[in-house]
Amino acid sequence: MDIDKGTGEGQAGVSPAGAGGGDRSTAPSGQAAAASPIEFRLDAASGVPTYLQLVHQVEHALRLGYLKPGDQLPKVRDVVASLAINPNTVLKAYRDLEVKGLAAGRPGQGTFVQATLSQVALPELTALRRSLSGWLAAADGAGLDEDGMVALFTSALRDFYEHRSGARTRGGAAGGETEGVA
C-alpha cells in the first residue's frame, strides 16, 4: 500500500471555508492534527459501499461550501484510524474523486480539493437555508410530516426543472448537474 506518510502537517494550516464556520456540522471531533475541514462518518445500515459513502460526503461538503479548492482531504491514515476501515477503501474513494477532477494528490502531502461543486457562496447558502427553514416550519404547522415534506419538495423541484427546460427548449448544457438534494 503506497500511502503518503504523515508529512504535510507543516503546511496543513489550510484555512477552513471562510465565513465564521460556526455552523459547520462536520467539524473535526476534537481529534488532534485536524488538517482537513471535514471529518468522515459511516452509516453501516445504508447499504452504500464504504468508498462511495466517502465520495458522497466530499461531494456534499463541496456543494455546501464546507470544502473549497486547496483544502486538504483527511489523511488516509487518519481516516483509517478513526473509522477502522481498510486503507484501500480510502485510496479507492480518493482515486474516484481524482478521476472526477474534484481532487488531486500531492506527493508526500496528501490529497487536496481541486474543484468546487458549490455554485453559491456560503453567506447566500445560509440565507437560503434560513428561508427553507421557514418553509419547513410552515409545512410542519400545516400538519405535513417528514415524508410529506420530502415528497412535496421533490415534486416541486421536478416541476421547476421541467418548466425551466421547457421554457428554454434549446440544447441543455445549462445547469449541468441538477441533482441538488443529496
Binding site: M1, I3, A81, A84, I85, P87, N88
Partner: protein, 310 residues
C-alpha cells in the same frame, strides 16, 4: 509486491481420525487485509496454525512470505501471530512483556511499543492480568506489531471484545497496514465488520476453501435477483448460489456481472459482503474460486432444500 503471504497446495491436517483441513489450495496475495471466514470447525485455526508453523501438515504443503517454510527463522522474523485467547502473561507487567519479547526476538521496536502503550493509556507497571479485556488485546497486538512483521496473523481477534474495544483494536491493525504496508490475515465470525475491514475474502467450509478472492471482484460478480417464485427454476442453467423462496416471490443470489441482462419481471440488486458470505455458508456445495474452470455451480436439480422466506 506480487508475493503471496500464504500459499497452500493440497494442504491437509488430520487430528486422530478427523481431517480438520483437507485439500486446501489457496494463495493470499500481499498487501491485503484478508478475512478468513467459516463456521465453527471449518479449519480456520488449523490453517493459521499450519501457516505460522505451530502445526505440521499431514498432507500437502504450505509456504509463507513468498515461498518460505513456516517456522523457518526467516518466516518467524517476518510473521507475528496473535492467537485466539489474546495471550499475555497475566502475572507480568506490560513493561515485563515488552522486555521479554524484546529478548526473545531478533527485531523489536521498543520506542514504538512504548509510544503505542502510552497512546492507549496502558500503564507499564500494571500486571497484564489486571488490565481490561480490550487493553490485554491491545497489549498483545502492540507486542506483535513492535516486531515489525511483514505479515500479521490474527485468530479471532475481536470475538471477546466489546464494540468500542473491537473498533479500537481494528483501528490499530488497519493503521499498521496503512503506515507500514503490513499484510494481515485474520479469522473472524463478525461478518458485519468484514465489509469495512477486509479487501480479500477466504471462505472455508468443512475443511475446504469454498470462496476466495478480492472483495471488490466478488461483489461485482454477484447479484441478487428477485422475481416470481414460479420462474425460479428456469435459472437452473445459471450459476445460482443460494435461493430463498416464498410462495409467490423468490430471491436468487447468482453469479452475474452488473451488465448481465436481467430477465423480464425480475429485479437485480447488488449484494453486500455479509449477504454474500451468508449465502455461501448456507450452500456448502457452491463455490467461487479464482482461476478458469473452477467455478462449480449448484444445479437446482439436486433439490437442495431452499430456505423459505420469512
Amino acid at each position: 509486491m506480487n508475493m503471496n503471504v500464504i500459499e497452500a497446495s493440497g494442504l491437509g491436517k488430520r487430528y486422530g481420525g478427523t481431517w480438520a483441513l483437507s485439500e486446501c489450495t489457496l494463495a493470499i496475495p500481499a498487501g491485503h487485509v484478508a478475512a478468513l471466514v467459516g463456521p465453527n470447525g471449518a479449519g480456520k485455526t488449523t490453517l493459521l496454525n499450519l501457516a505460522v508453523g505451530l502445526a505440521e501438515p499431514t498432507a500437502g504443503g504450505v509456504t509463507v512470505l513468498g515461498g518460505l517454510p513456516p517456522g523457518s527463522p526467516a518466516a518467524l522474523d517476518g510473521i507475528a501471530f496473535v492467537a485466539q485467547d489474546m495471550p499475555v502473561y497475566k502475572n507480568l507487567s506490560a513493561a515485563d512483556m515488552l522486555h521479554l519479547t524484546r529478548n526473545l526476538n531478533r527485531h523489536f521496536d521498543q520506542p514504538y511499543a512504548r509510544a503505542r502503550l502510552a497512546e492507549l493509556g496502558i500503564p507499564l507497571n500494571r500486571k497484564a492480568g489486571k488490565l481490561s479485556g480490550g487493553q490485554q488485546a491491545q497489549l498483545a497486538l502492540t507486542v506483535a506489531l513492535a516486531r515489525r512483521p511483514r505479515l500479521l496473523v490474527l485468530d479471532e481477534p475481536v470475538a471477546m471484545l466489546d464494540p468500542v474495544a473491537r473498533h479500537d483494536f481494528m483501528a490499530t491493525v488497519l493503521t499498521a497496514a496503512a503506515d507500514d504496508g503490513v499484510s494481515v490475515v485474520l479469522s473472524s465470525h463478525v461478518l458485519a465488520e468484514l465489509e469495512r475491514v477486509a479487501d480479500y475474502l477466504i471462505l472455508l467450509s468443512r475443511g475446504r476453501v469454498q470462496v476466495a478472492g478480492e472483495v471488490d471482484d466478488l461483489l461485482a460478480s454477484h447479484r441478487l435477483l428477485t422475481g416470481p417464485a414460479a420462474e425460479a427454476d428456469r435459472y437452473s442453467e445459471r450459476p445460482v448460489v443460494h435461493v430463498r423462496r416464498g410462495e409467490a416471490q423468490a430471491h436468487l443470489l447468482v453469479r452475474a456481472a452488473a451488465d448481465d441482462p436481467v430477465p423480464p419481471g425480475w429485479e437485480a440488486h447488488p449484494v453486500g459482503l455479509e449477504e454474500l458470505t451468508l449465502a455461501y455458508l448456507r450452500e456448502p456445495g457452491a463455490a467461487a474460486l479464482p482461476g478458469p474452470g473452477r467455478d462449480r455451480t449448484l444445479p437446482f436439480e439436486t433439490g437442495q432444500p431452499s430456505e423459505v422466506t420469512r
